[in-house]
Symmetry: C2
Subunit: 160 residues, 2 copies
């Protein structure tokens, strides 16, 4: 796969546990699909905006450019976030976790200031009220948290 | 696999895009390994503490009990976070994203108030300074952000 060979070329293979956890070099542990998880957080509000995935090339471009690049698993292509909608993510800080299979990316969002393709500021616009149980065939209900919609997807992306 | 059959029994199969995005029922899109991604955030500071994974059973237990349960991919078992270390996660809020393959879980951490198995408050204790490039065989260097270590892993987990 393109993303695997890219990973081989761009970043060193992950070392032992001690190196991953305490080392000073980035050696990402890309998963079977060639990606790591990226949690994207708003620099001003601290709100988690989205969870995305980065292959080696998108991670490299993010570090090089200071803008958010992902690997779109649904489209199977590199994804410069905001290229269509204008909601480009300017990276303030990028952090990696102990075992180097996830990053937290703190950003300022340009354009409409929205991250979700539904037009909402954050993809996490619904809560799961606690104390419910899915057992016995019951549905777990969601609560809409009234997140702000900043743009009309039909106008920005065209008809689906 | 146990987690797939668990998913079938506990939650309805994901519906079409419109239902996933705008519906009021939880229909998680578990991946090939039977899990969704969980981003765990500190209720007081807003800091991202960890990224974990939940299969159907751990998601159900989290919603039912209001404590953080995960699926440990490395150990291949259900994981009641804090059962060994005392750093149990009391859930303040759980949110699901637009396409229902990720949740954000806002928690208060008991015990030492630490989440990372290294003893740090957060797993994201190193940053990746921007403007570096991995091309041409250069290493991307990490910067330790001096995160606070709340416990000694050797004392809590015993020798590795």
């Amino acid at each position: 796969m393109a993303e695997s060979s890219g990973a081989d070329m761009l970043f060193p293979a992950p070392g032992a546990k001690a190196d991953l956890e305490a080392g000073d070099r980035l050696t990402p542990r890309f998963g079977p699909d060639g990606t790591i998880t990226c949690v994207t957080v708003d620099a001003d509000t601290g709100v988690v905006l989205m969870v995305g995935h980065m292959n080696a090339e998108s991670l490299a471009r993010t570090i090089e450019s200071g803008e958010g690049w992902y690997w779109s698993r649904s489209r199977g292509e590199l994804w410069h976030k905001g290229a269509t909608s204008g909601n480009v993510q300017k990276v303030e800080e990028l952090r990696v976790d102990c075992d180097q299979d996830a990053v937290v990316m703190t950003v300022r969002v340009e354009g409409h200031g929205a991250t979700c393709h539904t037009g909402q500021v954050s993809c996490f616009y619904r809560s799961i009220p606690l104390g419910q149980s899915p057992r016995g065939g019951q549905s777990v209900m969601l609560a809409n948290e009234g997140g702000e919609r900043r743009f009309d997807p039909a106008a920005v992306y065209g008809k689906d």
